[in-house]
C-alpha cells in the first residue's frame, strides 16, 4: 500500500524546516508543497508557529534583582574607580 503524498509530506515537513533532508527528499517535499495548497498552508503555519514560540517564550525579562545578584558574583579584581 502506498502512502498518500500528504501523509509523507507531513512526515517530512519538520525535517525539511530543520534542514534535515537530503537533496532528493528536499526536492520531493518542495514539489509537493508547490502542488498542494493544504500542505503549503501547513508549511507556512509551521514556520509561523516556530517564530511565535520563540517570541512568546522570550517575553519574560530577567528581574533586576537577579541582575544585581549576578553582578555581585564577580571577582573583586575591579580596577580602582570601576563600579
Amino acid at each position: 500500500m502506498s502512502e498518500s503524498p500528504c501523509a509523507k509530506c507531513e512526515r517530512l515537513l519538520q525535517l525539511y524546516l530543520d534542514g534535515g533532508l537530503n537533496e532528493i527528499e528536499a526536492r520531493e517535499a518542495e514539489n509537493h508543497l508547490d502542488d498542494c495548497g493544504y500542505c503549503h498552508r501547513q508549511y507556512r503555519f509551521e514556520r509561523a508557529f516556530r517564530e511565535h514560540l520563540r517570541k512568546t517564550l522570550s517575553e519574560e525579562p530577567m528581574s533586576p534583582e537577579l541582575r544585581i545578584k549576578l553582578a555581585a558574583l564577580r571577582s573583586d579584581v575591579r580596577p580602582a574607580g570601576d563600579p
Partner: protein, 197 residues
C-alpha cells in the same frame, strides 16, 4: 636587569586582572539572553534564577577556560545546561504513549476549525489565539528530555550537532526528540483550545 622580573610579573598580573574583568563584563552582558533559555529549561522562574546564579558562579570561577572571541552565550549555556542536568531535577514524567499517531497538522487544523476561518486566515492571527500562559504551560509539561532539546534548538539556537554535544546524546536522538517535542507541544496546545470551547 634583575629588577625587571618583578616588573614583568606585575604587568602580567595587571593584564590578567584586566582580561578577567573584561570576561566578567561580557558574560554579564549576555545574561538576558542566557536567562531566556534558563527560564524554560528550568521548570519555574525561581529555579531559573537559582540556575543562573550557579551558572555565573561557575563561569566566573572557570573564566580561564573560555577562549576569547568564541561564542560566549553558547559557552555559558553549556555550563547552564549541564548544571541543570546535574541538579537531578528529573522527576521524569512519562510521555503520553497514546495519540502520537495524530499528525503534526492537527494544531493548525484545530485552530482553523475553532476560529471558523477560511483558508485565507493568516497564521499570525491564528497563533494569537494561543495565550502566552498556554504556551509556557505546555512547554513546562513536556518531559525534560524533550524540553531540553526543544529549548536548546529553538530558543538557544544551537545546531543539532551542538545540542548533541551539550547533552551527550547522539545527533539522531536530538532529531527524534525534537520532533516528538514539537508534536507533543502542538498536541497539548490543540488540547488547550479544545478545553476553551
Amino acid at each position: 636587569m634583575s629588577e625587571q622580573a618583578p616588573d614583568t610579573a606585575g604587568r602580567e598580573l595587571a593584564e590578567e586582572a584586566r582580561d578577567r574583568v573584561r570576561f566578567e563584563e561580557e558574560a554579564l552582558s549576555r545574561a538576558d539572553q542566557v536567562y531566556q533559555v534558563a527560564r524554560h529549561l528550568a521548570g519555574s522562574k525561581e529555579e531559573a534564577e537559582e540556575l543562573m546564579q550557579e551558572t555565573y558562579a561557575r563561569a566566573f570561577r572557570s573564566w580561564r577556560s573560555y577562549t576569547p572571541g568564541t561564542n560566549m552565550r553558547a559557552w555559558l549555556l553549556r555550563i547552564l545546561t549541564n548544571l541543570n542536568i546535574d541538579r537531578g531535577r528529573r522527576k521524569q514524567r512519562r510521555p503520553p504513549e497514546r495519540s502520537l499517531e495524530e499528525g503534526d497538522y492537527s494544531l493548525y487544523d484545530r485552530l482553523e476549525e475553532t476560529t471558523g476561518a477560511g483558508s485565507s486566515e493568516d497564521e499570525e492571527r491564528l497563533l494569537n489565539r494561543l495565550s502566552q500562559s498556554d504556551i509556557v504551560d505546555a512547554l513546562t509539561a513536556l518531559p525534560h528530555d524533550f524540553r531540553d532539546v526543544l529549548v536548546l534548538v529553538d530558543l538557544g539556537e544551537f545546531s543539532y550537532q551542538e545540542t548533541a554535544q551539550i547533552l551527550s546524546i547522539p545527533i539522531g536522538t536530538v532529531m527524534s526528540r525534537l520532533h516528538r517535542a514539537r508534536r507533543l507541544l502542538k498536541q497539548s496546545l490543540a488540547g488547550s483550545l479544545e478545553n476553551e470551547r
